[in-house]
């Protein structure tokens, strides 16, 4: 479009539903994922893994494997500990030694006990299968609460009663300085209670399952003493730090590259044993090596999510006013600490205030070792658990009081004027207008009509129920004080000599579309077409510094720092532009307009210089303006002062088949408020994906170990991944409450869908089965469980 003055105006890109720039390579099969990388002389790794959940290695016979043609090397854990120290973690919690390949005791099914290096992937697998391992089994520690009594065994000798983290208190009356705990507020709240809801709830163990499994290619060049590692990771800079540290190399001797990454959902934050082994072996042999996880390995050995048990007591008055909350959290973290394992349940604690004015809260957290795969961040990472426990209790309260759950929530909401709101749990919520989102949800879902529809269906004998949940989450992580990896992000912006723009971001995406949203931002900032902008990411050799993509931080933190880096370059470019215009234009650099590929004095078309002209001048500055350096490139680091706190309201309707117990999701309405939106199309995609994972958790997903610690859900045959037929069309809408924490106003949205969906579905299912007197049902809501409630009166 053109303005009256004749200038071409670049349409504003921020806020537009722009198609993604990433897609052409992805829809044509032209992208390069880690398994697509082939290097000359590359060798392949395969791991021999434990078949036992717990046991002592008696012997490992590698002779047959080592003798196979094409096998270059076989190493056991005992060999590997000589060149590889125990793996580091990213939290300050006490942690037992965790070796990439265990040298003595196996602690979960799938734990590596040996590695084979061969010239071909099939050969490597054959050779690994030819290794004979003898293990003297020990009792498997599987039942979480039994484990807390030290029974039937200790997973780690040094951790009495299997307590990884024995006791972390949280909530009201805790003196941060002295650690003293004053229970008087909480006790008083419960003393006044007219009704108390008490419930044990399990937020079950899940498998993250990105469709691309984990994978690594590592290449050490002895002549340069330099290691390059390609990893399916969410955070290449953290990979670089951790690999360098364990290899005894400088961070300037390691380059980590995240090529195209096929989904992460938190499980690709970690640096795993296989990554360290690949680095150690390429360093030992001086040849490139590759390891690609197969799906069976993924179920056994990629981190699991959730698995937090809660004992919840909620005190209230009969009018629905909440007085206090007591909650005991027991996290089953599996066999070891991984990078953020121990920290995840602390996020559950942090969010226990929910969206409510709960005046007194006592929370207690215990983390327990068991003979299972370690847990760590899975989409939502601690917050869905907290939301679930609080929302379930709130829904049970409404049911107990015979009140509409929407009205109980409304009665207790934190009010807009109370923000910033300091919670009992130590969070400071940035901004919110919860009632507005609730009202929009009720309107869009036609809540009263839904109730009537449910009642009609029930009269016909059908088991139909409706559920409503509200959530607040913590995103845009965060200040470094709350993130042990560092909570900042880095970006650089370079205007090339021809006026094209190259930017780098430390927020390494794996499906989030950062190339598109970041291009939209820079297009607006510089008034140039998106096509002239290149966003580079995922390579520590190209992106100087970075943290990565997790905790719904790409836009809020990575987007902000990009805008700041762009601002620095723009300021300088404006000075070059003013100089190029000549003194007769009397251009004030700070007031120049960047639009339509031109830079000009507002209202003065004759002043216009093209973007490319100014860029060219900056690199051949004759004359060089006084006090200026040539060139147009700058960078920024930025750290937010606080996290962001998006929120929303989810409403659904379900039906349970009376004869089979099968649960069907009939309707799902989601209102999400993630602050300012850069690209609504991408935000909708994020919400859809989060909903699918949350609904999957509620209805069909669960990692199950048997009493011997064998993984029952070891393939897609047994672990129910949601399919297209499992969902109705989601009905989305939004409110927009910008955050004051960053100049964009963006809060983050990647995990939102996993928070509101689980309590909404369980509430609806309990509602559907209310005639059987059921008050709560633990996820997942498999037909057998529901059938038993219908036909046996069991919950």
């Amino acid at each position: 479009m053109t303005t009256a003055s004749g200038h071409v105006v670049t349409p504003k890109m921020i806020g537009e539903r722009i198609k993604r720039r990433e897609d052409p390579r992805l829809i044509q099969g032209l992208a390069t994922y880690v398994d697509d990388i082939k290097l000359p002389g590359m060798l392949h790794l395969a791991f021999k893994r434990s078949d036992y959940a717990h046991g002592r290695i008696v012997s490992i016979d590698t002779s047959a494997a080592a003798a196979m043609p094409g096998v270059e090397l076989v190493m056991t854990g005992a060999d590997m500990v000589k060149i590889l120290p125990p793996m580091p973690i990213g939290t300050p919690f006490p942690s037992p030694d965790h070796h990439a390949i265990t040298p003595d005791i196996v602690r979960y099914v799938g734990e590596p006990v040996a590695v084979v290096v061969a010239t071909d992937r099939y050969l490597a697998r054959d050779a690994a299968d030819a290794i004979v391992v003898t293990i003297d089994p020990l009792p498997a520690v599987i039942d979480t609460e039994k484990a807390m009594t030290g029974q039937p065994a200790l997973v780690h000798e040094a951790f009495a009663n299997n307590l990884a983290v024995p006791y972390v208190p949280g909530g009201s009356g805790i003196d941060a300085a002295t650690g003293s705990i004053d229970n008087s507020t909480v006790d008083a709240a419960f003393a006044q209670a007219e009704v108390i809801i008490s419930q044990r709830m399990l937020n079950q163990r899940l498998a993250p399952t990105p469709i691309e499994p984990r994978g690594v290619v590592a290449h050490y060049e002895p002549g340069k003493d330099f290691l390059t590692i390609w990893s399916a990771t969410q955070n290449p800079h953290i990979v670089r730090s951790f690999i360098a540290a364990l290899m005894g190399m400088g961070q300037n001797q390691v380059r980590a590259i995240a090529p195209e990454v096929g989904g992460g959902f938190g499980c690709k934050i970690n640096i795993y044993g296989e990554d360290y082994v690949a680095a150690a072996i390429t360093k030992k042999l001086g040849r490139p090596v590759k390891w690609i996880e197969d799906r069976s390995e993924a179920f056994m050995t990629t981190i699991h999510g959730r698995d937090i048990l809660a004992y919840v007591d909620l005190a209230a008055k009969r009018d629905g006013t909440v007085l206090g909350l007591k909650i005991k959290l027991i996290a089953d973290i599996g066999a070891y600490n991984m990078i953020l394992t121990a920290a995840i349940p602390t996020l559950t604690m942090l969010m226990l205030n929910g969206t409510y004015n709960i005046p007194a809260i006592r929370a207690e957290l215990t983390e327990v070792f068991t003979n299972k795969m370690p847990t760590d961040a899975y989409r939502g990472a601690g917050r869905p658990e907290g939301t679930y426990f609080v929302e379930r209790a709130m829904d049970m309260l409404a049911r107990e009081l015979g009140m509409d759950p929407a009205e109980v929530k409304r009665k207790n909401f934190i009010q807009p004027a109370q923000f910033p709101f300091a919670t009992q749990m130590g969070a400071v919520y940035d901004s919110g207008n919860y009632e507005r989102a609730l009202d929009l949800g009720l309107k869009n879902a036609k809540w009263n009509e839904l109730k009537a529809e449910r009642d009609r269906a029930k009269k016909e004998g059908r088991l139909v129920g409706i559920g409503l949940s509200f959530y607040v989450e913590v995103c845009g992580l965060g200040p470094s004080a709350s993130l042990p990896t560092g909570g900042w992000e880095h970006a650089s912006v370079t205007i090339e000599r021809d006026g094209k723009i190259t930017a780098t971001t430390g927020a390494s995406p794996h499906g989030q579309g950062n190339e598109t949203t970041f291009s939209q931002m820079l297009a607006d900032q510089f008034g140039v077409p998106m096509a002239d902008i290149l966003i580079l990411h995922g390579d520590t050799g190209v992106v100087k510094q970075g943290i990565g993509t997790f905790g719904s931080r790409s836009q809020a933190v990575g987007g902000t720092v990009l805008a700041l880096a762009g601002g620095k370059v723009k300021t300088k470019m404006a000075k070059f532009a003013a100089a190029l215009m000549g003194p007769e234009m009397e251009a004030n650099p700070e007031a120049l307009v960047f639009e339509g590929g031109k830079i000009f004095v507002e209202g003065n078309p004759a002043s216009a210089k093209t973007f490319a002209e100014v860029a060219g001048y900056a690199y051949v500055p004759v004359p060089l303006p006084v006090g200026m350096e040539p060139g147009l490139s700058d960078e920024a680091f930025w750290e937010p002062e606080n996290n962001t706190y998006p929120f929303g309201c989810h409403i659904c309707m379900v039906e349970v088949d009376r004869d089979t117990g099968e649960l069907t999701l009939k309707k799902f309405v989601a209102i999400d408020d993630c602050g300012t939106i850069i690209n609504p199309l991408i935000v909708e995609g994020q919400v859809h994906g989060g909903l699918a994972q949350g609904i999957g958790q509620a209805m069909i997903e669960e990692v199950v170990y048997d009493e011997d610690g064998q993984l029952i859900t070891g393939s897609f045959m047994d672990y129910a991944m949601p399919r297209a037929t499992d969902f109705p069309r989601f009905e989305l809408d939004k409110t927009v409450t910008p955050t004051p924490v960053n100049p964009l106003g963006a809060k983050g949205v990647g995990e939102a869908g996993t928070l509101g969906s689980t309590p909404a579905i369980v509430a609806a299912t309990v509602d559907a089965l209310s005639e059987f007197g059921v008050k709560h049902i633990d996820m997942m809501l498999r037909p057998e469980k529901l059938w038993n409630i219908i036909h046996g009166g069991q919950s």
């Binding site: 829809i27 990105p210 799906r295 897609f716």
Partner: protein, 156 residues
Amino acid sequence: MANVPVSITVNGKKRTAEVEPRLLLAHFLRESLGLTGTHVGCDTSQCGACTVLLDGKSAKSCTVFAAQADGSEITTIEGLAPEGGLHPLQQGFWDEHGLQCGYCTPGMILSAVNLLNENPDPSEDEIRAGICGNFCRCTGYQHIVNAIQNAAGQRG
């Protein structure tokens, strides 16, 4: 076991090779021919990331031995559209944001090709049923349904 000769037409080009009898078609395409657009997401024929067209019908190439495909015609994502162009389904996935990480996408698109070949004007339920052999962990499927509707000319 001795290697076996195969002759497979892939994306219109006849390819001959001596392969291990156990070599999976997916690995033949990826490793022997360098067609890495076909992805492997599981070992159990569940996820559908490896879906290709085998004699015009969708097939999970991790569950077919290369030797079994001898004499057949294979279309992979790289060969779906004429060079430089996009197949209507590729265009639909782009237009409707039918992908995020992109890993399931080639297989999902080829399953959708099969679906629309068999049923050019499917209902939403038929679309959902038609792709339920393909997992996507990113999108919640809604934009994928939109993408297929777009390719079927059902969306403005």
